[in-house]
Amino acid sequence: MSSEMFTQLVDAHYTPLYRFALSLTKSPSDAGDLTQQTFFIWAKQGHALREEGKAKSWLFTTLYREFLRIRRRSDRVTALEDLGPVEADPPAPEVDLVTGMDASLVVEALQEVDETYRVPLTLFYMQDMAYKEIAEMLEVPIGTVMSRLSRGKAQLRSALARKEAGARDKVVPFQNPSARKQS
């Protein structure tokens, strides 16, 4: 692959890849490392990919596998069955909860979602991949992706509500000594 093509590939994908990596690692520096590592692997192997249209899926899949490989050394694996059933009738979420919140807080809330659900949920919110592509990438059935999205959204709503409550608690009440005297 020529240097120009590599540059084009990086420009097209490094930002969404970084966002995905940030959601996985919860650390900006680790996310940067993981993104770089993904392009390193591309530089070594990706040129062999025959269909350029599949570069995006290849990059996201490679980044996710690298994350799993690194994490596998030191982390636990969550038992999915222990995480409860899918919400039968999910409530309509309040959009104001999100719109008035700082982006960093929303990302923090997303990072509080269990990893099993966070991965498809992040890909969903990045809007680059359809649920079928997410299922292919994660090597799970389509129905599993749907249920993980449903559970993930429920956890995200809870996390956002906690963030909002936390932000409210931090607000310092206005205390004006002169106003108090007058009253």
Binding site: F6, Y14, Q37, F40, A43, V95, V98, V106, V107, Y125
Partner: protein
């Protein structure tokens, strides 16, 4: 399809409308048009999803990440090109001929290189933590490159010696010349990499092949070419070093 099933499916419908043509969603979408309650729920869900997507889109990568990726890609591509060059039969034959002619010169390498190896080995023993702090962006970038599994050692390293020396990389003196030292971690083990300029040590044979020696539980790998002389010391033994090559 009841409303619960429709909600389950519709939670996979992206708020940018990219799934509009997907047949999986058609029936559920139609149902939102005929059922006001479901329609209201779907509108709120889409607004919520769009808001989260918009917030996520505000996340920007750190400054310098793009440049680091591009630099890393060039280094990796460059590494591949060298391999192809070596693999050409013509050059392999020429190299074999040169190797025969330089036998006498190469024979000098072990005795002189051992001195440099010894120096590196002794320095690595002095402290197990030196070089692990922040020694500037260029050093950090090289340290990161060396720590990556895809970076193969035993060949020319992507080193701008003057830049590293002037931007905070740890340097030590050997026979009156600067030697750079970079520590890096690979597979949970720390390695000490010493880099000298070949022009500073003309007495050392150039283009020496890769050699690994064991020393008191540690292992030392060394190689050289027209540009640089490199020694890597590992306290974890030969196998850990061989994994880097």
């Amino acid at each position: 399809m009841n409303n619960e099933e429709a909600k389950f499916i519709l939670q996979g419908y992206r708020p940018n409308g990219a799934d509009a043509a997907d047949a999986t969603f058609c029936a559920a979408i139609e149902q939102t048009k005929t059922d006001p309650l479901l329609g209201e729920w779907f509108a709120k869900q889409q607004a919520f999803d769009a808001a989260v997507s918009a917030k996520l889109a505000q996340v920007t990568p750190p400054a310098g990440l793009r440049a680091a990726i591009l630099a890393g890609g060039r280094v990796t591509e460059g590494g591949k090109a060298r391999v192809r060059w070596w693999n050409q039969p013509m050059w392999m034959a020429a190299a074999a001929g040169v190797a025969v002619l330089l036998t006498a010169g190469v024979a000098l390498w072990p005795r002189q290189a051992v001195a440099f190896d010894e120096f590196a080995f002794e320095d690595a023993k002095l402290s197990m933590i030196h070089g692990h702090g922040d020694h500037g962006a260029s050093t950090n970038a090289l340290q990161w490159t060396l720590s990556q599994p895809v970076t193969k050692l035993g060949q020319n390293l992507p080193v701008d010696f003057a830049n590293l020396r002037n931007t905070g990389c740890r340097k030590i003196k050997y026979q009156g010349h600067d030697v750079l030292e970079i520590c890096f971690n690979r597979n949970g083990e720390w390695f000490h990499c010493y880099i000298a300029r070949s022009t500073d040590f003309p007495s050392l044979a150039r283009n020496a092949g890769l050699a690994i020696v064991d020393k008191g539980g540690a292992a030392i790998a060394s190689w050289a070419n027209n540009e640089q002389i490199v020694v890597v010391v590992s306290q974890a033994g030969r196998k850990s070093l061989e994994a880097l090559l």
